[in-house]
Each structure stands twice: as C-alpha cells, then as structure tokens.
C-alpha cells in the first residue's frame, strides 16, 4: 500500500503525540490514517488459522458447543456456517471472561447432557441425529417450556446460545458477506439511495 511519502516513523510519532500534540490532524493524510489502521489491525487480529484450544470449555463441552453452533447456523448454498465463521471461538473467549456466561453456557451444556441422559441414556453428542433434532426442537421454543416446565432451563440456555451464535456468525467475514453488506470504506461522495420503482421512487 502506498503511504504517499508518510513513513511508518512519521505515523508512530503521530501516535505518540496524541490529539493535543498540535497540528497532527492537518498533516496526516487519509492514506496515512489508513496505514495506521492496517498496522493496528494486524496487531489486534486474532491468531492465525490452526487448531483452536478452548480457553474455557472442556474438550467435550467445546465439541458439544461446535455441534450446537453448527445446528443453529449451518452451511447452506450461499455461505458456510457458524463453526467456519469462528462462532465457537468467540463464545469460548467471552465465556471465559464472564461468570454469568459461564453459568448460562457452561451450566447449560451440562444441563443438556443430563437431559439427553435422562431421555436416551446418552450424551448429546452420542445421540443419533434424529434424537438431537428432537431435543433441539424442544428447547428452541418458549412455548414448549410453557407446556413442560422441566424444559425452561434448556430453553433459556438455548436462547442465549442462539444469540451468541448469531453474534459470532454475523460479525465474521462470512456472515457479513452472507448479508451482502456493502460499506465500511472511504467514499468521496455519498451516492444516496439507488432508485427502485415502487420502493423509493
């Protein structure tokens, strides 16, 4: 990327000076700002691809989490699913930092296995695909908990996990492309709304 005569040293100097350092903002061209962002982005980017070691969940729980994330947002003909989008890593990271999440998700995963054990004498992962679907169909809707109060903890757990999975997916490159969002870029002029007969005209 061309830095238009602004060296990395200039930028570091700028960073060190701060806002009240004076005329910084007059001299730093947009390209330099972008360059600085790239540098920051690189430093802040998550570790490169490779096998992720969960920070919070046990190996078994993490495998269960992956399976659930995949069920919540699966791969389809337009895009990959939540697992490919890194939702489990995102969820594991946040859960490790928040005791409430630990109870809701960590506890919830144990609840799920106990539930499957009562029902099928198996863990969730050991269940046959139809059995997993049966369980998920039960805990994916509040109305089921109204009929059967013993499901209410599972419904609450799944609702939270669904939200977290969506957050993980739709903040990923894959999820953002899936929605066909266009933007987060520099424009010289804002073009306004494209005319669509019957909608905006």
């Amino acid at each position: 990327m061309s830095s238009q005569g602004v060296t990395r040293r200039d930028i570091l100097k700028t960073l060190a000076m701060g806002a009240v350092g004076g005329s910084v903002l007059q001299v730093i061209p947009a390209k330099a700002a972008e360059f600085a962002h790239q540098a920051v982005r690189k430093e802040k980017a998550t570790s490169p691809a490779g096998k992720y070691t969960p920070k919070y969940f046990s190996a078994h729980q993490y495998e269960t989490l992956n399976s659930l994330c995949d069920a919540i947002i699966p791969k389809d003909d337009r895009s990959s699913g939540a697992v490919e989008a890194g939702a489990p890593e995102f969820i594991d990271l946040l859960t490790g930092e928040n005791e409430k999440y630990q109870l809701r998700l960590g506890g919830g995963l144990v609840w799920l296995d106990s539930f499957c054990d009562d029902r099928y004498a198996k863990t969730f992962l050991e269940c046959a695909p139809e059995q997993r679907t049966e369980v998920l169909d039960l805990i994916a809707y509040r109305k089921n908990a109204k009929k059967d109060a013993s499901l209410s903890q599972g419904v609450a757990f799944f609702a939270f996990l669904r939200k977290m999975t969506c957050d993980g997916f739709y903040t990923s490159k894959i999820g953002i492309a899936d929605l066909q969002y266009i933007g987060n870029t520099s424009l010289r002029e804002f073009p306004g709304c494209p005319p669509v007969p019957g909608v905006t005209t």
């Binding site: 930028i11 000076m17 701060g18 806002a19 009240v20 350092g21 004076g22 005329s23 910084v24 903002l25 007059q26 730093i28 947009a30 972008e34 600085a36 962002h37 920051v40 982005r41 802040k44 998550t46 069920a71 919540i72 947002i73 337009r78 890194g86 995102f90 990271l93 946040l94 928040n98 999440y101 994916a140 809707y141 939200k163 969506c166 957050d167 993980g168 739709y170 903040t171 990923s172 490159k173 999820g175 953002i176 899936d178 929605l179 969002y181 266009i182 933007g183 987060n184 870029t185 520099s186 424009l187 010289r188 804002f190 306004g192 709304c193 494209p194 669509v196 019957g198 909608v199 905006t200």
Partner: protein, 567 residues
Amino acid sequence: MAQVTRSPKTYDVCVIGSGAGGGMAAKVLTEGGLTVALLEAGPQVYPEKDFKMLMWPYDLPHRGAGVGGSALENFGEFLAPNGAWDIAGEPYTSAPGADFQWFRSRIVGGRTNHWGRIALRFAPVDFRSYTRDSLGADWPITYEDLAPYYDKVESYIGVFGTKENVSSAPDGVFLPPPKPRCHELIVKKACDKLNVICIPSRLAILTRSVNGRLPCHYCGQCGRGCVTASNFSSSQVLLPPAMTTGKLTVITGAMAREIVVGKDGKAEGVSYIDKTTRMEKRISARAVVVAASACESARLLLNSKSSLFPDGLANSSGTVGRYLTDSVGSDGWGEFPFLDKMPPHNHDGVGGMHMYIPWWKFDRKNDFPRGYHIEMWGGRDMPGVGMFDGLCHREEGYGAGLKQRARKVYGTTIGFSGRGEMIPNPDTFCEIDPEVVDQWGIPVLRFHFKWTDYELRQAQDMQQTFRAIVEAAGGEYRTKTRIDGPYPFGIQPGGKIIHEVGTARMGADPKSSVLNGYCQAHDVKNLFVTDGASLVTNPDKNPTLTIMALSWRASEYLLSEAQKGNI
C-alpha cells in the same frame, strides 16, 4: 497540608474539563492571550491509535462485545474510548426509586469523542419558556444574544443542514447535507402525507473541507471517533488550535477535588488528585472555568465548602444541583418487508441520520408542554453484535430457516427516537451523598429523579407518532409499550439520553440561580461554569451546540473583564 504540591506558576485561568464547554473555553481564552491550565480527569486521547475507524467486527477478538461482553452495555467496543455508565472506583448513588443513569467520560475531549454530532440551535421561544407557559424559568439572555455565537461555532466546527425556516428549529450557517438514505426517503414520504415536517438533519460533520480538516469519507462511524477529524470533537478541533498558541497546559489524570477560595472570596486555584500518584496537587489561577459536565461541575461546587461558602461555592441560592433535567427519550421501530427488494448498496453515509423531524406541533395545543424532535435509523447498517437479538427472540428456532430469515429481515427495519423537553421538578436533583466517597476520597453525588405526567404524556405522543409514520410508510409498527410500570410509553430512565443539564443554572435573580447570563457565578466574580450546568431549560435540541455557543460567549466576556482588570 504540607503534602500538597503547589504549581510554581500562577495561570491566568484554570479550566476544569476538556469537553465541549472546557475545550471551547481553552481555545477562546488562549487565543485571546491568556495562559490556561486545563485539568482533565482522564488520559490523553490518540485518535490514530485509539479510534477504531474502518475496522471490521472480526478485526477484534471480541467482535465489538468487549471483554466478557462488558462493552455491550456501553454502546459497544467500537465506540471512541470514552467512558461508561459505571466507572470502577468512581461511584454515584441514587435515592430510592431514582434509577438515574450517569454516563461519564474520563478522557481528553470527554463525550465529544463519541457524541451523536446532532447540532441544533435552541429556538427564540426556548429562552422565554416561562413567559409562554408559566413552567420553569426564563433565561437571562435571548436568542438574539446567542445567535452570533451560534454562527461562530457552526462556522468553526462545520455543521451541515438546510435553510428551512421552521420556527422551532432556527437555521444556521450550514454546509450542504448528504443525500438521504433509502429508509429516510420512505419516512419523508410518509411525513409529507401526515403533514409532519421532515428535513435534512443538522450534524457537526464536514461535507466540505473546513479549516484544513478533510471532508467526511462516509463510513458511517462517527461514534468510533474520526481519525481525519472530519466530525467535531473537542480533542481534535478545539484543543489543537489552543495548543498552537503555546499558552495551553493540559494536565491529564487530574481529578478536581475543590476550588480554593481566598480571603477575598475569589477563587484562587484548584486542588486536584493526581491519579498517578494519588497525591493532592494545586493549580493557582486568577480565574476558574468549570466545565466538568453538568453534574460533575455541581459536585465540585458543592464539595468546595469553606467558611465563606459553607453550603458549597457559588451556592448562596441553594440551587446548585437543582433543576436537573435530561431529555425525554422513547424509541420505537417498524418492520418494512418490502425493503428486501432493495439491492445491496452502500448505505453507510455519515455517522448519524441524514434526515430528521424537528418539533412540528408548535402551532397547536398539545396535552403536554413544550415539544420533541424525532431521530431516525435503520436500513443496511454494518452487521454487529446484537443485530439479530430481536429476530432470535421473536422467531426463535434454529438452522437453515433462521439463517434465511436473517437475510430476509436484514435492512428492513426503520427505527425512531423521540427526544423531548423535560420540565425541571422539585423531585429531580443531585446532592452530595453524606456517606460515600470515591477512590480519590472525594464525596460522590446522590441522584434524585422523577418523571412527571408532562414527560409521560410526551412519551405517549411519541409512540403514537412513530406508529402513525410507520403505518403511513407501509410498515408494521413493532414496539409494544405499557402505560404503567417503571417505564410507561417506553420512557427511558433519567440520564439515559446523556443530556443532563441545569445543575448550576443562569438567571437574572441571584436568589434563584447560580450564574449570570455570561456563565459567571453571582457569588464569585472570577468563577465561570461553561458546561450544560448553566442551561435554564433543556429544549428538544441536543445541548452540545448551545454549550459551545455559551462557552464562547462567556470566554469572550471573561477576556474583556480580564482586560478591564475586573477579574
């Protein structure tokens, strides 16, 4: 007091707070030739490093949620580094039932690093509210007194808008506005049907270059802070020119504790806690400008007790901390399934609305006093954490169907935020908590807050209007509110709109006000308060532009008084 470190030099002015009010005072005073020590409770801000402009959610491991999801309650991790509803070690308390929320920034530039950039002038009638409806109080100054300063502020910081000749929303010095987004065109069409005024918004964002600052690049992320300073912040627009004069000394990590008064009853300096060493230090100054944010300024005055001022400084009227108001806020949104026909397109624009609805019912009798404006949002925003919370909650389920629904509903909602005027009431104020101190040993504020029927009826009217607009635009209104409970008609808790003002109001009568029309304390001639505390009313216009106009005017007055030797 042997441990107190006194500054070897005496500054002309000590300014407390570096946001809109303090930054403006620092600029005008230093450019007028005075030396200024600026105290800021937080650290320096480094836009190129701190602002997350043009980053994607996946560039951050927490994707915008913050460590352990902590940023979700504070507008997300992408917001300019800018404070929070709760600051560790710096609590405030609420009287039973008050539920007041106080957003504080501890950083150079204060809340102007992230603010909504909505820059609306108060109207002539807003300065004469009591005369109009016998509620609250009139200002000691008129619109005509302030108009030249609105002109100067707008010209200097850059505000876009259009001349519309709407009496509730005076025109200003405007840059051209950006073109409307799709959802804004749809709302405009509905408003035309309903005879509701809908016009280009007025935001402190550059659509043309001003004073060497680059024009907006339309990434839609003003709240993250702008590396190119294409929107207004005190840290990037007011403090650099002040710095250039060579007369400004910025002291960060300085938590003001007390304004020190001499035997003659004049302020002679400020004691502050140096957060790094936890030691008390003192700045000597010939005048003091307090601009720490409305409630923080009230706290400082109330904590500045002395034998001459036993009830706190500049508080002979007993009104410091009183007349606290926030904006009335209620939100609502509708679903517009036909918007899924819009082709994917860049809808980012500036960081904020391109169109808005100024108060339009000023020509008729309403069942509540004063008025409100309506902000709007929606469309194909950059995805982020929480975007599909509503969908997940309403439709539940999982799998291919959920993914399909997310695609379908993305970009098809339009939302509205009503922002209205609260009338000061005797049950709403802040005072010093008799028992609690913060980690710097400074007694903290205790809040009392109550909405009255005036505000509740206004929130009800907002909800009715949102529904009418959504339906006229062919959508389905989705917000459900209750008429009872803690938040009738979706009214937000006090403080939540972050427009808290009025706690050291100006007035003609020293018995019922703290300041005169120049933001100068009635009781202490070399003490000024130039933040939102000075506001007599809190009209349906976001206060920042007015704070800057008042601060500019007060600072010019201070300069002229200093020249005459009156300070």
